[in-house]
Symmetry: C2
Subunit: 217 residues, 2 copies
Amino acid sequence: MKIQSYDISRTASAATLIFDAIREAIIKGELAQGEPLRQEDIARAFNVSRIPVREALLRLEQHGLITSARYKGAVVAGLSLDEAREIFDFRALLEPEVIRRAVPRMSSQVLDAASQCCEAFGRGDDPMLWGDLNRRFHTTLYAASDLPYHLEVLNKAMDRIDPYLRAQLLLSDGMQRANREHHMIVDACRCGQADMAADLTRQHILGAKESLSRYWQ
Amino acid sequence: MKIQSYDISRTASAATLIFDAIREAIIKGELAQGEPLRQEDIARAFNVSRIPVREALLRLEQHGLITSARYKGAVVAGLSLDEAREIFDFRALLEPEVIRRAVPRMSSQVLDAASQCCEAFGRGDDPMLWGDLNRRFHTTLYAASDLPYHLEVLNKAMDRIDPYLRAQLLLSDGMQRANREHHMIVDACRCGQADMAADLTRQHILGAKESLSRYWQ
DNA sequence: CGAGTGTATATTGTATCCAATATGGGAGTC
DNA sequence: GACTCCCATATTGGATACAATATACACTCG
């Protein structure tokens, strides 16, 4: 008889949980840029010592989500307009290639999952979810690429600008436009038009880049 | 009067020193893949406690240079042939764009520095230095791109396959070929031919990718 | 003799304590 | 009143000690 092995808390250290929690808070914009992250405060909040907190902060720093200075502590990292633009350029370089390679490998399950994200996104029940759905839409399609290294790097880049993208979706026509472009992308994928999907993805990203200055304080 | 501030040991924590040392050892191939890295051993070697060692190991893990499992410890990460190929593809995607953007920004100092690397590389006094010079050649040219995010990501990717590139340089014609291609690249840069430099760079990387299987055990 | 189990040991994860450093405010001086 | 220096306090970096877990080996039992 085979026993289902539950991996609960086997790979998850306290540091990992803290890392995930803070990462999510930063990405969702719950922690504003410049916000100081004091080890003692976080440790109390999670009922642990400062040691795992320091570990989590280190990983956040490696991800570029916080910046820290010796003996001065960590703050939530911000992006200048130039830095944000560069990251969009970076994505505009990677993602078309990733999706081009993913298209011929997409199962119908993947396409359906992406369409579902698309639909839920379009219905727009809950603006708080838009960011999550947007992110999931892209990662779902890209996952088929079988390019783990590209995806790892890409995920870090997406993390870095996610807060700004979420802000963008809340703009007047930000959501409609993203939704329209998502539909076009998933349609191209369904038709197996890899180059088309790549080009649409590139435009989708560069369009977001151009919109950046519109809401940059 | 302005005082030159020497940042020695102001930003360098024990963890940073350990990280740098181990990173270099891995990149240079002094630590073979699969080699276990025990916290206690490293701590003794550097005369510190395990705390800064753990910090260094965490950063190494984020860089992909080691892999670690809870309660099992860390080992030097290896690459499968497929993974190595993917990283070359990744570089082949990024570096042409980086150098294309760098060419119009290259000062004569940068070009001269790159040429110097090239020459020293070509003289081939010391095979042990080839890897360093090769790396410095590329980073020197790329530094002019003014794309800090791209460079950061790129450096990690280069770190990841550096040991394999060093092995490649030691192959029969590995060094000659790299040297020839480096000269062509720097010449294109000197002439301000950004597209040419980008294309040469791309071929340079894809050529290295193709050679991979030749020395893959 | 082999499979499974219990235990000893090694190793990592975390807590607690001390050291080093930055920051802010107050005393003193001009 | 403004500036400088100095020190108290807060906060992070590191060391030591303890807890949790994996691994290897001996042992039992079929």
